[in-house]
Symmetry: D3
Subunit: 167 residues, 6 copies
C-alpha cells in the first residue's frame, strides 16, 4: 500500500514549492470560517460601537482582505495567485455560554491552484484583529474552529495519490 | 458606572492607533499557543518525515518566526516593535480522538507596549503553514485554542480604565 | 431614479473587494499626473545636481515605479495585477510664481480591471520622494493636481450602474 | 555664499541615506493634510453610506495608518522609525464649488529624526483610497494641497546648512 | 555600428520598466547557482546538525523560496510574475581548499518575460542565510560564483537589438 | 573540547531567533563588499550612460539601500534593527581580464546586535540589480567575492563560545 505523502516534500525529504505548471487555469473558489470567543462585556462594547460606526468588525474584515492578498508572503510554499474577489464577513453571535465573533472569508481566482490558504489567512488575520482591538477589555479571548468550509474548481486533484498516478 | 471601552476607538468613534508615547520602555514578554487538529494519517506522515528531516514542523516554526516580525503590517493598529527574541515550537501530540500539532510562541521586546499580538501572529501563521503543507493528505484540519498564555512586563496597564484615569 | 452607488460597498453596507471574475482580460492602460510646488532655491539645487547625476528626479521616478508594483498592498480594496510596463517621468517646470516638479506615470496591464490606482500611486509616491529629498532646503512644498489623465481598455464598464444591470 | 544643498546627495553627487547616528532621541511629532476634490454625487454617496457604516472614510483612515508604518519601504531614503502613535482623520467638507474630503494625519515618535514623511504618506494613501473607493461614481477626483502643517521636536536642525556647520 | 544598449534605459537616458505587453505568454524556466565558501569547522557543525534536523540548509532553502516570490520588490525594474514552481537546493561540498555550500535554484513561470532574476534572487538570499546562521562560527565566509546556469522559453529575444528591430 | 555551535540552533536542534535582550545597545557599524564581473561591452554601456545620467549604478545603489531596510524580512532569523545610516557605492573597475562593478555597503545602527547581514544584503541586491539592468547586453555576469569587510561595535561577543560561558 502506498502511504500518504506530503505534497511539499520531495523524494529527498527536502521542502519544495509544488509545481503547478501542468495544471489548468480554471475558476476556483474557497471559503473558510473561524470564531473568536469573547466576553459579554466585549460583545457589548463591540455592538455599541458597531451601532455607531461598526469599527471593530469593519477593521477586522479589512485586515482579513489585506492579508489574503499577502498569503504568499506568509505561507512559505504558497503560490502567488491573482485574486478576483475577496469577501470577508464578521458578525457578533451571542450565545448562552458567552458571545463570539463569527468570521468567514470567500476568495475567488482563475488560476492553476486553489485558494483555501488565502481564505484561511483572511479568516485568521481578521480574528487576530478582533483580539487586538478588544484586548483592553477582554484578556481571555480564544480563536477556535478555523477551517475550510468549501472548495470548488480545479480537479479535486490536489490529492497526493492522484498526482502520483498522473505522472 | 463607566462602561468598558475599546482602546483603539476614539471619543468620536473613529479607529486610531493607541498613543504609547507616555509608556515606559520595559522588558516585556508574551507567550501564546494554538493547535491544529489533524488526522492520524497526517500525523504519521509528519512524524516519518520528521524523523528524516523534520520539515513540516520546522517550516511551520520558521513561518511563525517570520510572521511575528511583520505583525505590524498585518494587524492594522499594532505598533512596530523591535523584537529581541522569537521562539516558536511545534510538536505532534497523539490523542485518543485524533492527533494534533501543538504550536507555541514566546516573544520578547524592550519597548513601550506588549507583544501578545506578535506571539499570536506567530502561532496562527505556523498553524496555517501546517495546514498548507498537510492539506494534500488531510482536508479537514481545524485550528483551535489560539490564545495568549502569558504576558509579563509593562504595567498591566493596558486596561482602558487605567488609561482613562491616568489622564 | 437609482442613486449612484459605491462599488466597494455591498448591499449590507460592508466594504468588499469588487469581484472582477466575470470581466474580460484585455489590454488596459492608465496615466496619471501630479505636481510638487517647490521653491526657486530647491529648483536650482535639483537642476544643478541633475546636470551632474540627476538624482532627485531619478530617485523619485524609481520610487514611483516600485510603489506601483505594491499598489495592492497600500490600497485596501485594489486587486493584485500583473503590470506589463510602468513609465514614470519627473521634470522641473520653472514658472513665474515659483517652480514645480511635474510627475507623470503610465501603467499597462493585460488583466480584468484597470490600473488607474497603480498610476496614481506611482505619481504620489514619486511626489513624496521629491519632498523627502528636498525638504532640507524647502520646508513648504505642496503636492497638487494629482489625477488620472487617461484610461483606456476594458469596457468603460467599471460604472456601478452597468454592473448592477449586468446581473 | 554657500549654496543650499540636498541632504541626501553626498559630495560625490551620489544619493545616500542621511546618517542620523549623532542626533538625539527626542519626542517628535509631525502633522500633514491633504484634500480630495470630489463631485456632489460622490459626496452624497459617501455621506449616506457614512451615516450607516462610515466605510469610505474609515477605510481611507485605516489605509493611511497602515501606510505610515511602511513609509521606509516606499520612500527610498527614509529611515525606519518606531512610531508611538498615528492618528488619521478624514472628513467631508461641502463647499460652494464642489465638495472635498479633508484628510489629516499626526504621527508621533521618539527617535533621531522627524516623521513628516510618515504623516505625508498617511495622508496621500488615505487620499488615494478615497479615489479608489469612489471612482465608480466620480472619475474626475483630484488630490490637492498635500503638505506638512506642523513639525515639532528635534532641533529644527534638519537644515543642510546647520548640518554642514556642525561638522 | 549600433552600440549595445541598456534595455532599462530609455532614449532620454531615464530608467524605465521594459514593456513586455507585446511578448507572448510562454512557459519559461531559469536556473541559477552560487556558492558560500565556509570553514571546515562550520562545515562540520552544519553536517552534524544536518544529520539531526538539517536546519541550516533547510532554512536557507526556504529563505530562497520566499525571496524568489518577492523579486519584484527587491529589483526595482523587475516585473511581478506568477511563479509556477520554485526549487532550491543547498548542499555541502567538502573540498581540499576548504568546504563550500552549493546552492541552486530553478524557477518556472508561464508569462511574458523570463525568471532568471527570480532564480538569482533565490540563490543569493539562500547564500546570505547560510552566512547569517553560520557567522557565529565562521566570520570569513564569502559568496562566489553566483550566475545563471540555464534559461529556456520565450524567444531568446530579450536582446536589445532584436527589440529595436521589432519596432 | 566543546565543539563549535550554531547560534541559531537550540539544544533541541530546532532553529530559533537568538535572544539579544541581554546585550547592550551600542553603536555598531558593518561594511561589506561584492563584485559583478561584466563584459567590456556592458562596461562601456554603463559608463556611457553613466556619463549622462549614471543610472545603472545609481539604481543599483538605491536598490541596495532599500534592501538593507528589509533584511529582517529576507533573512529568517535576523532581528529588525533601526538603521541610522546606509551608504552604498557602486563603481566600474576596468581590469585586464574583463571589467567588474565593485559594490560596497556600510550600515550603522545603535542597537543590541550587529548589522553585517544588512550590509551583505545591500551589497547582494545591488549586485543583482546590476545584472538585471545589464542582462540584455551581457548574459554571463557573475557575482563574486561577497563578504563582510569590517565589523565594529558591540562586544565581539557574538561568538558562540562566549555566549555559552555567559550563562
Amino acid at each position: 500500500m502506498k502511504p500518504a505523502c506530503l505534497s511539499h516534500v520531495g523524494a529527498d525529504g527536502a521542502v519544495r514549492m509544488v509545481d503547478v505548471g501542468d495544471k489548468q487555469v480554471t475558476a476556483r473558489v474557497a471559503s473558510a470560517e473561524g470564531f473568536v470567543r469573547i466576553s459579554s462585556a466585549l460583545e457589548r462594547a463591540i455592538r455599541e460601537n458597531s451601532v455607531k460606526k461598526g469599527s471593530v468588525l469593519e477593521v477586522s474584515r479589512l485586515a482579513g482582505i489585506l492579508a489574503a492578498k499577502r498569503t504568499d508572503e506568509l505561507i512559505p510554499l504558497c503560490h502567488s495567485l491573482p485574486l478576483d474577489a475577496i469577501d470577508v464577513t464578521a458578525a457578533l453571535e451571542p450565545r448562552e455560554d458567552g458571545a463570539r465573533v463569527h468570521v468567514t472569508a470567500t476568495v475567488r481566482t482563475q488560476s492553476r491552484t486553489g485558494v483555501e490558504m488565502e481564505a484561511l489567512t483572511a479568516v485568521t488575520v481578521a480574528c487576530l484583529t478582533v483580539i487586538d482591538m478588544g484586548k483592553a477589555i477582554d484578556k481571555a479571548m480564544v480563536i477556535d474552529g478555523v477551517r475550510v468550509t468549501e472548495k470548488r474548481g480545479g480537479r479535486s486533484g490536489d490529492r497526493c495519490a492522484t498526482r502520483e498516478e498522473g505522472r
